[in-house]
């Protein structure tokens, strides 16, 4: 099941008056059904978890390190305070440095309500208005789906050899990581035979998210539960305290958001339909271009 096997090859000839290009297409079955289904469920879960998580964060829009909240010295805090001309400004404090983030962080417009002091703006929180109880409901409901979905994915990935076969970089790939980074910076994506497998940066990004960030965010989330802390006090020690766990949970979410943005940009740049098709139907198209006359393909 799954994997990157070649199944169909199509050779198409295009002829033009002066240029002859032979374009050979091959189709590979790139993503197994389990990978495709869990991918989209995971996307839905992360979207709801991110937005409801920001709603929960807004109930106390500050982060700390350790067991308890040192209210005088947060690592990060968002609040509103009067500016020079008496009007309220949204202030974001990072490690004792203040930034004016009026309109977005600390102070923003809530549709139908007006300008309000709040951490993140209404357009990124679920629900939009300040409603902690409802944000918690969304968060915990989708947290369950996220965890069950993640366990299905991890179990099948290990059992089917998907991780080992498709996600673990080969030694040869690791040795040429510099070239891969240079190719990415110039937005050159692997073609032909090289497109049959993930490139080394993809592999490392996916492995990092799947084996490090996602388990970490789930565990840090559980550490915030006072009841789970009594059952597994090692969790709190592991994360260096409940407030540290809350901060790590937030940072993991930030890393996931950056990953998501880069992921979507890469999908768009490297062939949105081919990528979307392969993550929906499983089939990925590879073009092998061989120039017959000159290089103007």
């Amino acid at each position: 099941m799954g994997g990157f096997q070649s199944d169909v090859e199509v050779v198409r000839q295009r002829s033009a008056p002066k240029v002859q290009v032979a374009q050979r297409l091959s189709w590979i079955f790139r993503h197994s059904a389990i990978v495709r289904v869990t991918h989209w469920i995971n996307f839905l879960c992360l979207a709801v978890l991110l937005m409801s998580g920001l709603q929960i964060f807004n109930a106390h829009s500050a982060l700390y390190w350790g067991q308890e909240s040192d209210f005088q010295h947060p690592l990060l805090a968002m609040h509103a305070s009067p500016g020079q001309h008496g009007s309220l400004r949204g202030i974001t404090t990072i490690l004792d440095h203040d930034f004016d983030t009026t309109g977005v962080l600390g102070l923003s417009y809530v549709p139908g309500v007006g300008v309000r002091e709040r951490g993140f703006p209404a357009w990124v929180t679920l629900p939009g208005m300040q409603w902690l109880a409802m944000g918690r409901r969304w968060h915990f409901f989708f947290a369950w789906i996220f965890v069950v979905n993640g366990l299905v994915y991890l179990t099948s990935g290990l059992a089917s050899g998907h991780f080992h076969r498709d996600l673990l970089p080969t030694g040869e790939q690791l040795r040429h990581i510099g070239g891969a980074i240079w190719d990415h910076l110039r937005l050159r994506f692997p073609k032909g035979e090289e497109a049959r497998r993930y490139n080394v940066l993809q592999k490392l990004a996916y492995l990092g998210v799947v084996l490090l960030i996602l388990p970490c965010i789930a565990l840090a989330g559980m550490t915030m539960s006072p009841n789970l802390d009594s059952i597994a006090p090692q969790l709190v020690i592991l994360f260096g305290g409940r407030q540290s766990a809350r901060t790590i949970h937030f940072l993991c979410a930030a890393v996931l958001l950056i990953f998501l943005l880069v992921h979507v940009v890469m999908v768009l740049l490297s062939g949105v339909w081919n990528n979307m098709r392969s993550m929906t139907t499983g089939w990925y198209r590879i073009e092998h271009t061989e120039d017959i006359n000159d290089g103007t393909a």
Binding site: A47, S69, L126, R137, S230, V272
Partner: protein, 256 residues
Amino acid sequence: MTERLDRRGFGLRLTTGLASLLLSGCGDEVSERPWVRHLLDKAEDLNYWLQRRVLPHNALAPEYDEADLSPQFRANGSTDPDDEDYRRLADNDFADWRLTVGGLVERAERFSLVDLRALPSRTQITRHDCVEGWSCIGKWTGTPLAALLQRVGVRPQARFVMFHCADTMEDGTDRYYESIGLDDAFHPQTILAYDMNGAALPVAHGAPLRLRVERQLGYKMAKYVMAIELIESFSHIGRGRGGFWEDRGYEWYAGI
């Protein structure tokens, strides 16, 4: 080539369209639909089942050292009840305050602070986790609820312990109230605290008596406790969800 560009443009529009649908603030309307809330509530049932029926439920909350005490323990919710009867009691240092323990008990009884201090006591340094997200560490001394319940005798029909409080909430109609299950009531760390950080419990933190039910969130730890009632069901009290904040959408079992 143009065909490909069109497709790419369509894909972009589709993606941004879906994203803006998600981000358009339709979350408020969706959240207000009863079936959505009902569906999302299933996770609360699942959490309760996991925490109370599957995982061990007699574990102790982590306890800390004197050195860990928070220099500034935040006072939240009611911090200075302006109820006339409460003010009268406070002005007299709670000498006239009595805790009523009744409901489904064998021998209903009233306790003064002196009575409570004469009962066995427990001191614990624990972390207080607010549903808002912050934590403070404090030292609490008080009467184990189990000792009090054993003294009055719990009748077999009783399933919950209800705490009636002195503070009227902002809407002016309801006084704060909270309830816990009997398993939590008999947990060794569940105490009725009259001292905080080595001194008499300050008004801001619930004088003269507040509940400490470690392993749950702060809103369960009722302040300004006036009466304790053993009950079989809380469906007839308030809006029927077992507590002031529960009536406003928060979980009855606040272990997460």
